[in-house]
């Protein structure tokens, strides 16, 4: 309902002009501009544009000056228009339909190539629903126009296109009612006629010899003018085709009897006339080499009586017929929803069908080349046909599996906290979950964060728990052999590292020490931990600064000052500083009493110039080595032994 009513003819003319200019420019901008400039109802404008496009196309076709490319460019323009939203989605299809209706078949080929190439466009959301029916109708019209035997390729292309366009369950593509092509009538000479082949036939035969046995029958060149023909077999054989065409006939008694008789005769002939493997395959190989092995396709059987002998000796032909039997039997035996209730086989018929099926398979297997393989393949394909049949019987259910709606199990740890404004605000702070069990579970602890923090959720072991075993093993008194130590277990080691990273500051101490293996590293850590434990995890003082300067040369990991010296009489840093200061240059004397090795002493000397520092280093080294044994008592003893009784006393006082 626009205030200005759209003047149809004017608008259409404007559009037409704009379309022509857009075609000339090869882009749709001018068309879009024109569209937006015109005032009016969107819907009305769209329909007007559609009409304009059709009109332009019509003019082009009538003028006959335009070629396929021009039509195609107009259709491209219309596609753009739809994408831009200025034209209705059915327009390109309508235009296509118009074009195909008006053009001769060879040009339709080109247009159809365009259609094929743009399958993705047609399948896109904006086009699909609007256009699929149009496309279907268009393709069916084309198919009707084309001859199946002359334009086989084109027909095939159309069918393939339809197959790609529509989803598998598209009902229009299915032979839902399992109908038969009743028009496929096989014509043969029921009466003796002047053979149309006659002389010509003999020449043809000499030109293009099909594969056959040379010694059988009357095939030697030069061909005689006529050969004896078994009309009896000929007629019976081709009458069978009528039963294949319309299997429903088989359910009638009289037709069935005829079918039975003729089939028995024909199959007896097949059985008696065994195809020679050697000759057949040799010739085929030769033919393949010479003619490139092109497979000849016959849309319909050639039923001249003179070809009967040749056909009987051809393995491909035989396979065709035997396969027809198998397909027929499958239909007769199968459950097809659309068969009427009168179409039921009685016992005799069933028995005969089974026997004959066995015979047919046996004949297939005997037919060279690769009879066995062919027979198994055929059996397999017919079995899969059963599946398709049952699919059709069920009304063609979709193949897309619907995703089942299942609720994911709720994991409390990852659950977001419920919004506070509607849960848990009741007087008893109980949150109702709708289900008693759930309510009970939820209200064990409504506050999830608190629940997470509860001690029962603490899964990480403490250092002493985890390392107890390792510490025990590290104790030389226990005499545990290296290879049995638990620190050698890589699993244990990995967990130990993780635990250390979470719980122990030792982990983060930088070190120049190189460890050959995780086990060695763990050994040292264990020894450090052993010193600390069984005390509870204390508050660590991580002394970082000083330690960076020190680099001791001994094998043990350089220890920072984190060895707590609280309750046990371990020597404190402060004490060590004092002693070092007092020792000064005389630290070497203490060294021997501390049972320091010469190597270590040399290292200390090289490490630092300052004697106080050296003394300190000595004490630190001693402490490292001793671990938990680095007690005041021991140090005092050593000091006294070294003759530093004053220092010892001061130590004891402190």
């Amino acid at each position: 309902m626009s205030p200005h009513s759209l003047k149809f003819v004017d608008t259409k003319n404007k559009f037409s002009a704009s379309i022509t200019s857009a075609l000339a420019d090869k882009n749709s901008k001018s068309l879009i501009n024109t569209f937006s400039q015109i005032i009016g109802n969107e819907a009305e404008k769209k329909t007007t544009l559609d009409q304009a496009l059709r009109g332009v196309l019509g003019d082009q076709i009538v003028e006959k000056k335009a070629g396929c490319d021009d039509y195609l460019s107009l259709i491209y323009l219309s596609i753009d228009a739809v994408t831009e939203g200025i034209s209705s989605a059915t327009t390109p299809f309508v235009l296509l339909g118009d074009v195909l209706d008006c053009l001769p078949l060879d040009q339709c080929d080109k247009i159809f190539s365009f259609v094929e190439e743009n399958v993705s466009t047609w399948k896109s959301n904006s086009f699909y629903t609007a256009g699929k029916n149009y496309l279907l109708r268009m393709c069916n019209d084309l198919l009707r126009r084309l001859s199946k035997s002359q334009n086989t390729v084109f027909c095939g292309r159309i069918q393939l296109f339809l197959a790609r366009l529509f989803p598998l369950s598209e009902k229009s593509g299915l032979n839902l009612q399992s109908q038969f092509n009743l028009d496929n009538i096989t014509v043969f000479n029921k009466n003796e006629q002047e053979s149309t082949l006659g002389q010509k036939h003999t020449e043809e035969k000499e030109d293009c010899m099909e594969v056959e046995e040379g010694e059988m029958g009357e095939d030697d060149a030069p061909l005689p003018c006529s050969i004896p023909i078994d009309y009896n077999l000929y007629r019976k054989f081709w009458t069978l085709q009528d039963y294949f065409r319309n299997p429903v006939q088989c359910y009638e008694k009289f037709s069935w009897m005829t079918f039975l008789k003729y089939s028995d005769e024909t199959l007896a002939v097949f059985k008696s006339y065994k195809l020679d493997d050697m000759q057949a395959s040799k010739r085929k190989l030769e033919e393949m080499r010479t003619s490139g092995g092109e497979h000849v396709y016959f849309a319909k059987f050639l039923t001249s009586e003179k070809l009967m002998d040749l056909q009987l000796s051809d393995s491909n032909f035989r396979r065709h017929i035997l396969l027809q039997y198998l397909i027929l039997f499958q239909y007769l035996k199968g459950q097809v929803k659309f068969k009427s209730s009168t179409c039921v086989l009685n016992d005799d018929q069933t028995t005969w069908i089974e026997e004959t099926t066995k015979l047919v398979y046996q004949l297939l297997r005997e037919t060279p080349p690769d009879g066995d393989k062919f027979a198994t393949m055929v059996e397999h394909i017919l079995n899969t046909e059963e599946n398709w049949n049952s699919w059709k019987n069920e009304g063609c259910p979709s193949f897309v599996k619907e995703r089942t709606v299942d609720d994911k199990p709720k994991r409390p740890t990852r659950k977001r906290q419920a919004p506070e404004d509607f849960l848990g605000k009741g007087p008893d702070r109980k949150i109702f979950m709708g289900n008693d069990e759930l309510t009970r579970l939820w209200n064990l602890n409504p506050d999830n964060m608190e629940a997470c923090k509860s001690d029962s959720r603490e899964f990480m072991p403490s250092l002493d728990e985890f390392f107890t075993e390792a510490i025990e093993q590290a104790d030389p008194a226990n005499m545990v052999e290296e290879e049995y130590k638990v620190v050698r277990n890589p699993n244990y080691g990995w967990r130990a590292l993780r635990l250390l990273s979470r719980r122990s500051p030792h982990f983060f101490q930088p070190t120049n020490q190189k460890f050959k293996s995780l086990a060695d590293y763990l050994d040292s850590m264990v020894s450090k931990l052993a010193k600390e434990l069984p005390k509870d995890i204390p508050s660590e003082e991580i002394k970082t600064g000083e330690e960076d300067d020190d680099d001791n040369g001994d094998n043990l990991l350089k220890d920072s000052n984190d060895s707590p010296s609280i309750q046990s009489k371990l020597v404190t840093n402060q004490q060590m500083d004092d002693i070092a200061a007092k020792l000064g240059a005389q630290w070497k004397m203490l060294a021997s009493h501390l049972e320091m090795k010469a190597v270590e002493l040399r290292e200390i000397e090289t490490d630092s110039e300052d004697v106080d520092m050296q003394a300190k280093l000595l004490l630190v080294a001693w402490q490292d080595r001793e671990g938990t044994q680095a007690t005041v008592e021991n140090l005092t003893t050593a000091l006294n032994a070294a003759g530093f009784s004053q220092i010892a006393d001061s130590l004891n006082e402190a």
Binding site: E192, M216, E218, P224, C225, I227, D230, N232, S272
Partner: protein
């Protein structure tokens, strides 16, 4: 079994049925024009079948019946032979000649009947086989008196008697190029005679060759046929292909049963005998195919080389049916007496 005796007990129809049941076809011959087939049975009758009618598209069951049946001899018609215008039939010790032209007009009157000179007058030996020697227009007759008689067809007189076999002769064949006659007999020997001098040139005792011999069947030779350089013979011993220059067996065909007639066809060998099938064999000795037939065992096999459009293979045996093959690989239909 003769018609007559028991007719008052059995009615006519049953009688005929019984006859048919016991009928055997012993011999066949195609007319010179190729459109007719003459077949002789064990009752001494010859039936004439029209091939053109039987092979036509509108053929009915009636066309598979003979157009003419007549009694030719008192005994079984063991051998039939066609010359350019005559049909020669041999029965109990005598040879009769019929005119094909007359026969097609359904006039069954023999032109002449002759009897070879048998030494013994007590027993009349049957004539098992005949062959025509076109080079001197003579008829070679193999008889039950162990001799081969040669009848000059022009003059109508017996000119030679070839003696040598010690038992009756089953089959004869003519080797045109060398003007030789081959005969095979119950005594197991295949003799090669010079047709001009009448002397036995060679004598092949087939049963003495280990490769062919089948002592369980006997030593008799029931079929001999020649292709100038090659010879097929079989019977008690296996069917074998012989090279006549070297007189040695080249291929042995592993067919069960005794073969009663064999012939060369293109590069194959067709043989019939015991067993209800026609055997197709390759020259190398392998059996390519065995095409099933109606009669339980077959006595005679003929190829109609006189006409291309009626070029069929017919086989008859221990049945009143004669199988016709348009395509060698399967039986098309049967003619019946």
């Amino acid at each position: 079994m003769r018609r007559g005796g028991k007719t008052e007990v059995l009615n006519n129809k049953q009688c005929i049925y019984m006859e048919l049941l016991h009928m055997s076809v012993f011999s066949q011959s195609f007319s010179p024009c190729g459109r007719f087939l003459a077949a002789g049975n064990n009752y001494g009758e010859i039936a004439l079948f029209s091939l053109s009618a039987a092979l036509s598209p509108e053929a009915t069951g009636l066309n598979q019946k003979p157009v003419l049946t007549f009694t030719a001899h008192e005994g079984p018609v063991f051998s039939l032979l066609s010359t350019d215008c005559h049909l020669l039939s041999a029965g109990n010790g005598e040879v009769s000649a019929w005119s094909w032209a007359e026969l097609t007009k359904k006039n069954a009157k023999p032109l002449w009947t002759k009897r070879p000179n048998y030494k013994s007058s007590l027993e009349i030996p049957e004539i098992n086989s005949m062959a025509v020697n076109p080079s001197d227009n003579s008829l070679v007759i193999g008889g039950g008196d162990n001799n081969v008689h040669i009848l000059d067809l022009e003059h109508g007189a017996f000119k030679l008697v070839l003696q040598g076999h010690s038992d009756y002769i089953h089959c004869v064949s003519v080797r045109e190029r060398e003007a030789e006659i081959l005969s095979g007999g119950e005594d197991g020997a295949v003799r090669i005679w010079d047709s001009r001098t009448g002397q036995s040139v060679h004598c092949i005792e087939v049963y003495k060759y280990k490769t062919c011999a089948r002592p369980q069947y006997g030593k008799w030779i029931s079929c001999v046929t020649t292709d100038s350089d090659w010879m097929l013979c079989g019977g008690g011993p296996s069917l074998s292909l012989w090279h006549l220059r070297s007189l040695s067996p080249t291929s042995i065909f592993p067919l069960t049963g005794c073969q009663r007639q064999a012939t060369f066809y293109q590069d194959m060998i067709l043989a019939v005998g015991e067993g209800s099938f026609v055997s197709h064999c390759l020259l190398g000795g392998e059996v390519k195919a065995q095409i099933p037939c109606m009669p339980q065992s077959l006595n005679t096999l003929q190829l109609n080389t006189n006409s291309t459009e009626h070029r069929v293979l017919t086989a008859g045996g221990s049945s009143s049916h004669i199988d016709v093959f348009t395509n060698l690989s399967y039986r098309a239909f049967s003619l019946s007496f």
